[in-house]
Symmetry: C2
Subunit: 334 residues, 2 copies
């Protein structure tokens, strides 16, 4: 996991070098008119898709739906995907239900695009077009370099439609930013110390960073078996905030921008209730910094890297093998 | 909370009596052609909307998107909702961000439908049409009768488009079924005993019951401060299943139908890993039964009632006041 995390600057740079090719792929597969985008993914790929969902709504200005595959694969509803771009993200490209969902969407009028590490995978074969991430085989079970590449790929797909913050000048600076974070592991170690006696954690964010906070919760669950749940800052207020009365550990993600005040206001409320809150992002009082010089649109990449560092450091602090979590495998059957 | 739970058979019967009127409302507001449905909700209402999402995809055969309100209200993206039916669910009809999201969707080409308890609320005023649930004021903070009425309303909206299982003969039998469950509180008491020493819980389901399992997790969080997280059975396999190695309590929901085998297979796997799993639904080995005579489409209603019973019994077992959870209020600002 550590070795694959370290590859991320180079892998991202390689992907950004292909921005023009990816834009051509998107334009060739785009429905005209572009009605709705449907994202299809599970696990870490689904968190990348959640980041992508915001960027795609900003780019297309049309609703994005996160598919419930069971509608097609279990309930056998003959869906109509006319006017839809169906974007499936899967690290291996081999999760059978994701492949089947794409096959059914394509057969029912959808234009289909695969974002996967393996351009020769069944998912790539099923889709009209493929963005092969080219990040190399991932040996550790918890996905890392694939996730940041998937987020970047979603950003480039959106940017092909309308500028959303993934332009060439920004992309050119992301690899060095990620390399700088990776060279600065100490803050994540401090967060790992803080969590080393916890058996549960809540992560919180709003808007663009939501997928990154959810991915951090998942990565920590995969490497440490801690129960970690993500909530959007707005959803947490609608009920789950009641759990904060028991000194619950909370890791809140924020980046300066339109949703930061919502998150920071929630943090104040959580602390008043006795929750033990740490902040991630370039905001006052943060424990896990990253640069403010890049736009919020690309902050999910830096936030995910910070979360990977926490998951890795916590696994080591707990004496666990982060590369081989109990009973997980790289390809999941459903 | 107990008193409002007890009203549910009568409140549901009152709503089902208005099926024809609701169908007329839906037909009057439906976009032509009906492109995409967008649901807008938070908290318990969002779980009702998740149940509704499956029913609406079955009915319209078009993708349903769960709105991220921040896209409109924070990032100020000028979305295009042409061809969309935007369905907002809110108990009070007064959550400002939900109202603003509907106003913006209506101003940007969407047809808008409010599902709310208060037909005179700002949400009702903002929408093209309203289904006023008419279940009466809910005094307890954890919503109960509103949630089952919202699920029923989503079912009736879907049924107005195409039969999905909420036809008159089925609806006529739901109130008695719910009354029967409410008269049978003992099984929920046993689940509450099981959870009384836990500080975390995972709920699991797949497909139609997903929203009900998520609502059960939320209701338990609201009334007891236990950290309870919902996962779809398919998503749990993509990483979070690693948490099952620590004797994690899991409540799995299943109803005979296309997704039951996925849930029951997962339950076997979870037990092999040492998780402490209890089942809810009319399946072998279940601790919380309901009738198999009603179709899976309406099982979210019965499942939610079973979850309410667990949340109430657990709050009582822990000496908490289920009606006034710490620091929650009926109207939430974001």
């Amino acid at each position: 996991m550590a070795a694959e995390m370290a590859e991320q600057p180079d892998r991202l740079a390689g992907l950004f070098d292909r921005s023009a090719e990816i834009a051509r792929t998107v334009r060739a597969v785009a429905p005209e008119p572009w009605g709705t985008t449907v994202v299809v993914a599970r696990g870490s790929s689904d968190h990348a898709a959640t980041c992508g969902r915001y960027l795609l709504e900003m780019a297309t200005r049309r609703p994005v739906s996160s598919a419930s595959p069971s509608i097609s694969t279990r309930y056998r509803v003959p869906m109509d995907f006319a006017g839809c771009l169906v974007v499936a993200a899967s690290q291996s490209g081999r999760t059978p239900e994701i492949v089947e969902t794409v096959q059914l969407a394509r057969a029912h009028g959808g234009r289909t695009l695969a974002i996967t590490n393996d351009g020769e995978s069944p998912l790539a074969a099923a889709a009209d077009a493929t963005i092969a991430l080219g990040v190399g085989i991932e040996q550790a079970v918890p996905a890392t370099k694939t996730v940041t590449a998937q987020i970047a790929a979603f950003g480039l797909v959106a940017e092909a439609v309308r500028p959303v913050g993934f332009g060439p000048e920004v992309c050119a600076r992301i690899p060095a930013e990620v390399a700088g974070l990776l060279a600065d592991a100490e803050p994540a170690g401090a967060i790992a110390d803080w969590l080393s006696t916890a058996n549960r954690l809540v992560t919180v964010a709003r808007g663009l960073l939501g997928g990154a906070a959810a991915e951090t919760a998942l990565k920590i669950q995969e490497t440490t078996s801690l129960l970690a749940a993500f909530y959007s800052a707005a959803d947490l207020r609608h009920g789950p905030i009641a759990t904060a009365s028991r000194a619950l550990p909370v890791l809140a993600f924020a980046h300066p921008g339109p949703t930061a005040a919502d998150v920071l206001g929630l943090v104040d409320d959580l602390r008043r209730r006795g929750a033990d809150v740490r902040l991630a992002g370039p905001v006052d009082g943060s424990s896990l910094w990253w640069s403010t010089e890049l736009p919020e649109a690309v902050a999910p990449i830096t936030a995910v890297v910070r979360g990977q560092q926490v998951a890795l450091a916590l696994a080591r602090a707990l004496g666990r093998d982060p590369d081989h979590p109990s009973g997980l495998s790289k390809v999941t059957a459903t």
